[in-house]
């Protein structure tokens, strides 16, 4: 137990055994990083070039799986849905999150109560979220029914059973669950802005909305970037919500890549397609992640 301290006190032992306890303690982390994260990722990428169906087989067929993937209509719908959902949820959650945070930052009363109310959906699982919204959007009992029985007979709002707009039905639920988190991150960012900046802007007679747009938001760039990365990595993972709300339906109208991958791997015994699909998902994440990591590391080195 005390080997490190005594060793460090007496003389310098061979390098590998220096700081031994810390190295032993880090073994779970090292195994996770190397075996699961790196090993698993590389394994999946390699096997995406094989003919694997029920079981993984090292039978390489080049880019066949990718060709099949991109010519599958299910995958194309999944990608289209992901893009719509992604762009909308990015824009809406950033705007709504920021506006709510700005409102809460006005030194108002009951701030904690409001924040508690806005953040509680984030504590709920996507399954619970999806099932509640499935119920509220139910055409026979939910919003549509209530509005119709209030007198507006021709009112129609049935996103979950309409192929054209089903992804927006999922978006509503997704925003309900996630905007509270974005609001909290933004609020933390706003609180990090020096009060003197507000005073200076006030002295110069700059209206509040202009101060937000031209001074505060540019200053909050790191917060926005971090938030963006969090939202983006969440979007790619979109799966539970779809399963709970529509199971990919009606038809295949609300398929998403994560569901495509799961179905290929565990339901239709088409492992190769699953590997190819998940590799494409990884690629999408890397496109967001690498510029961000580059910026982060650039920032660190300047410190």
């Amino acid at each position: 137990m005390t080997t490190t301290s005594t060793a460090a006190a007496s003389q310098r032992p061979i390098r590998l055994f220096r700081n031994k306890a810390a190295k032993i303690a880090a073994i779970p982390m090292i195994l996770t990083a190397l075996v699961v994260f790196m090993g698993g990722t590389i394994w999946t990428i390699v096997f995406s070039f094989t003919k694997s169906r029920l079981l993984p087989r090292a039978d390489f067929i080049g880019l066949d799986q990718y060709e099949r993937l991109w010519s599958s209509s299910k995958w194309m719908i999944a990608i289209e849905n992901l893009i719509i959902f992604g762009l909308c949820s990015l824009v809406f959650s950033l705007v709504i999150g920021f506006v709510l945070a700005a409102l809460l930052d006005q030194k108002i009363r009951f701030e904690n109560t409001f924040r508690t109310i806005m953040l509680y959906p984030f504590a709920l699982s996507f399954i619970v979220t999806g099932l509640v919204w499935q119920w509220i959007l139910n055409p026979d009992f939910g919003i549509q029914h209530v509005v119709r029985s209030a007198g507006w007979e021709s009112f129609s709002f049935d996103p979950l059973n309409n192929q054209a707009i089903v992804i927006y039905g999922i978006l509503i639920a997704g925003l309900w669950q996630g905007t509270g988190l974005i609001m909290c991150l933004m609020l933390a960012g706003l609180r990090g802005i020096d009060e003197d900046i507000w005073k200076a802007a006030r002295v110069d007679g700059i209206p509040a909305w202009k101060t937000y747009i031209f001074i505060v938001i540019p200053m909050m760039r790191p917060v926005f970037v971090t938030t963006l990365v969090i939202i983006a990595s969440g979007i790619v993972r979109l799966y539970d919500l779809v399963v709970a709300q529509t199971s990919g339906g009606p038809g295949i109208a609300s398929e998403v890549p994560a569901k495509y991958v799961y179905d290929a791997m565990f339901l239709s015994q088409n492992l190769g397609q699953g590997f190819a699909g998940s590799t494409m998902m990884l690629l999408a994440v890397l496109i967001v992640l690498i510029p961000w990591a580059y910026m982060e590391f650039g920032g660190r080195q300047r410190d």
Partner: protein
Amino acid sequence: MTDVTSLNAPHAVTTRRLDGPSGAKPKRAISPRNVFIYGTLLLVSVYYLLPLYVMIVTSLKGMPEIRLGNIFAPPVEVTFEPWVKAWATACTGLNCDGLSRGFWNSVQITVPSVILSIAIASVNGYALANWRFKGADVFFTILIFGAFIPYQVMLYPIVILLRELGIYGTLWGLILVHTIFGMPILTLLFRNYFTSVPEELFKAARVDGAGFWGIYFKIMLPMSLPIFVVAMIIQITGVWNDFLFGVVYTKPDVYPMTVQLNNIVNSVQGVKEYNVNMAATIITGLVPLIVYFVSGKLFVRGIAAGAVKG
């Protein structure tokens, strides 16, 4: 940086906007500005609370009332039968013993997952913060990158891994998976926290001859109880709410609660009992909700620590 307590500023200036150099404005409770702010916030709050309200109301109605009325109306006749049914007799496929089975499975998954992942991550974070060794940062970077890799990429390799270990389809397999995927965020959390502990304390303990574990148990652990609570909050809600890992790595009789809930509500056979479904949904959401409402500010702190400081 994430100081949430700046509410009680010495002289509560109600407005930040200053319309002219006229000094502090007299406080007025009802100004157009306040009406706008509070009005918007109230409206938003209604939107956020609505689903919770609908869930509760629906779960307390009988089916005839649901068919006739609207989902926003409060129950005329309150009944707890749907709750009892959801807990004890709701059907998923062949089993008809309700959500209780899923609940106990989730408890058996969550408790060891939380303990194990926090134990490992705190020691890791401590090693990274105070006992840095060569190459540690490389592994840590890979670990953090791993947090962003879509789970789908690692799903199948882990199936193989668990099968080799002989724990595929069991609770322990799922516990291991949660421990692995909880590691990046928790390690980051603990590393950041331990880095902020004054180095003099650490050095003094070293001079007194305390070793790696001695300092961890006698100094770091007692000092950092709040961060352990934050980690627990993150992990309990995360594990309890998980669906994907549960459905991939367990078999029907050990399905966690979320998976079972989805099977109950989205099963195609039988008449849909919306009140039972909503009761089941609330019961599943109850554990994270209680954690959330009890922990309050610490929950927010967990989010901020994990996200903003990263």
